[in-house]
């Protein structure tokens, strides 16, 4: 049943009741009220804050509480300051480097997650029904344990005297420990590890629903399984690929905890820059300008993600 059908049927249900009568007499329909509660909450606490970020990104730094002002440096009461906070993002190579590095880390991590996650989701979707549910639980389980602790676990594995190095030395594969902690490699491992379930779940949801008879038809007509996989399975699972990729890429761009704990000073990411500007330098206008810059990079991915979510809503039954 499409969601529009449900709505039509639901709308046919008669509307009455004393509360509703009261509200209608006040000019408010119950429906409006129901929509308004979550709508206004999200508007006030999720959307309006972005406008404030935009507002603060055009202000001047002052030593005051709060440390930003729109008063002009020359004494006027109101000035917009776009050149300083945004200008600095272009003048200082640090920002551009961190920005590009974040996009690169997020993109590459997304690709790695897809390469690891696709065969995984494919295998899960081809298991028997009861096995599927258990495997699904096993994928979701780490997500329910603390994110911070899962990142922490990697410190113990990646350190110079950590488990991986100890194991490799014990195997006589290496003599001296490989330096993995505080490198970009550790950041990649951390991001892929933390976000892998977000890639696997939409892929699995998509592959599970796929019509097997299409593959059988292809095989009957003499198509080799590998060819059928790339000609039929992969194109049909495209929406799942897009959804999983967005779920990994978008949050990974602004990731702070993973580069902070696993990365070194050289693994510069834009989320870290934002936090440093805000908390250490108390430069709120620049921190806000960085946030605006991150959002600009994410507008298109966010729209793709939103479109997919709407389509799913239409398609699901």
């Amino acid at each position: 049943m499409a969601s529009s059908d449900i709505a039509t049927r639901a709308s046919r249900l008669p509307a009455s009741g004393w509360l509703e009568t009261l509200l209608v007499s006040l000019g408010i329909r119950g429906r409006t009220l129901v929509i308004a509660i979550p709508f206004l909450w999200l508007l006030l606490f999720f959307f309006v804050p972005f406008l404030i970020v935009l507002w603060v990104s055009t202000s001047f730094v002052v030593i005051a509480q709060p440390p930003y002002t729109h008063a002009c440096p020359d004494g006027g009461t109101f000035c917009l300051n776009i050149s300083e906070s945004f200008g600095r993002l272009f003048d200082d190579a640090l920002y551009i480097k961190a920005y590009l590095n974040s996009l690169q880390v997020a993109a590459l991590s997304t690709v790695v997650c897809l390469l690891i996650g696709y065969p995984m989701a494919y295998g899960m979707a081809r298991c028997s029904h009861s096995t599927r549910n258990i495997l699904l639980m096993l994928i979701i389980l780490p997500f329910w344990t603390s994110f911070l602790i899962r990142v922490y676990a990697w410190i113990g594995l990646l350190k110079n005297n950590g488990l991986i190095n100890e194991f490799l030395i014990w195997l006589n594969v290496i003599d001296t420990p490989i330096n993995m902690m505080n490198t970009n490699f550790a950041v990649y491992v951390g991001i892929v590890y933390s976000y892998l379930p977000f890639m696997i779940l939409p892929l699995y949801a998509n592959l599970e629903k796929m019509d097997i008879s299409l593959l059988e038809a292809a095989t009957d007509l003499g198509c080799k399984p590998i060819k059928a996989f790339f000609l039929i399975t992969v194109p049909l699972s495209f929406p799942g690929i897009v959804a999983g990729s967005m779920l990994v890429f978008i949050p990974a761009v602004g990731e702070y905890v993973i580069p902070e704990l696993l990365g070194g000073p050289s693994s510069l990411m834009i989320g870290r820059v934002l936090v440093n500007e805000f908390f250490s330098n108390r430069d709120w206008p620049t921190a806000s300008a960085v946030a605006v810059a991150i959002l600009l990079a994410l507008v298109v991915p966010l729209m793709i993600y939103q479109k997919y979510q709407d389509k799913e809503l239409e398609k699901e039954s």
Partner: protein, 279 residues
């Protein structure tokens, strides 16, 4: 159904090993009788658990985090049920696209951005809501957990059979009564899992909390983060083991419950088939 090739099976085992090896290592080293986390110094059952219990800072932060998670998740569940209901039952209203965007976006929005933007709002609202503290943290947590709960509720409402609600309406129940007496009890399992999801997400949040809290409200993830930054700490391993233990028990219960529900359903189906066959 075609059989899985062994390559895929080996791949799946490898991925599960990748997902679980770090978690297992944390648990194992919580029983390590050495201050150096990665050097094995013999087995101890309780050394780090006692040390954890005696660490006032961690225990106080844990209590506060549990309180914040309980309040936030309860409020977010109420809002999330309504949001999920609106998304499924009201396909056309002014601002629907904006609404669905605002429900979906917090799921993927980088936390540093959500945190910064909320903090700037709270600074502006300071005359109304006062300084930062428990209230601002709860508002922030409600806002981003409500999205997760709304998504859970949305998929539940999508698969909900309308005929029961229609029957109740036909028998003269008012819409609000139908919602509370028929709809809510049917979707109760989804509400419980939504609440639990919101609870764990709130309990786990570091970045948004760091932006929105005040000096008196240091939560568990913040304490853990500041300790972890200084290096490995066996007490954190003990804490992690406790969390993992609780979650695993919960999941095993869920699997057992699902299994028995499935079996009941199959038995019902068989009985129905037999009844039809007799007739």
């Amino acid at each position: 159904m075609n059989r899985l090739s062994w390559v895929v099976i080996v791949w799946m085992i490898a991925v599960f090993a990748f997902l679980y090896a770090p978690i297992v290592s944390v648990v194992v080293y919580s029983f390590n009788d050495s201050k150096l986390v990665t050097v094995w110094g013999g087995f101890t059952l309780d050394r780090w658990y006692i040390a954890l219990w005696n660490d006032r800072q961690i225990i106080d932060a844990a209590k506060l985090s549990l309180l914040i998670a309980a309040i936030s998740s309860t409020l977010a569940t109420i809002l999330g049920i309504i949001a999920g209901y609106v998304l499924v039952r009201f396909p056309k209203f002014l601002g629907r696209t904006a609404f669905s965007g605002m429900v979906n976006a917090p799921l993927v929005m980088p936390e540093v951005i959500t945190g910064l933007s909320m903090l700037l709002l709270f600074i502006m609202l300071q005359p109304v809501i006062g300084g930062r503290g428990l209230i601002t943290v709860v508002i922030a947590h409600v806002t981003f957990t409500l999205s997760y709960i709304a998504v859970v509720m949305r998929s539940r409402f999508l698969t909900l059979d309308l005929s029961l609600e229609e029957a109740a309406q036909d028998l003269g129940a008012k819409p609000l009564k139908v919602f509370f007496v028929i709809t809510l009890p049917i979707v109760l399992p989804a509400i419980v899992s939504g609440w639990l999801l919101g609870f764990t997400i709130s309990l786990d949040d570091l970045v948004i909390t760091a932006f929105t809290n005040g000096p008196g409200t240091t939560t568990l993830p913040q304490v853990v983060f500041s300790k972890v930054r200084l290096g490995l700490d066996p007490k954190i391993n003990a804490l992690a083991t406790i969390i993992i233990g609780i979650v695993s028990i919960g999941v095993v219960f869920a699997i057992v419950h699902m299994r028995s529900a499935e079996r009941r359903r199959q038995m019902d189906e068989q009985m129905a088939i037999r009844a039809i066959a007799k007739a």
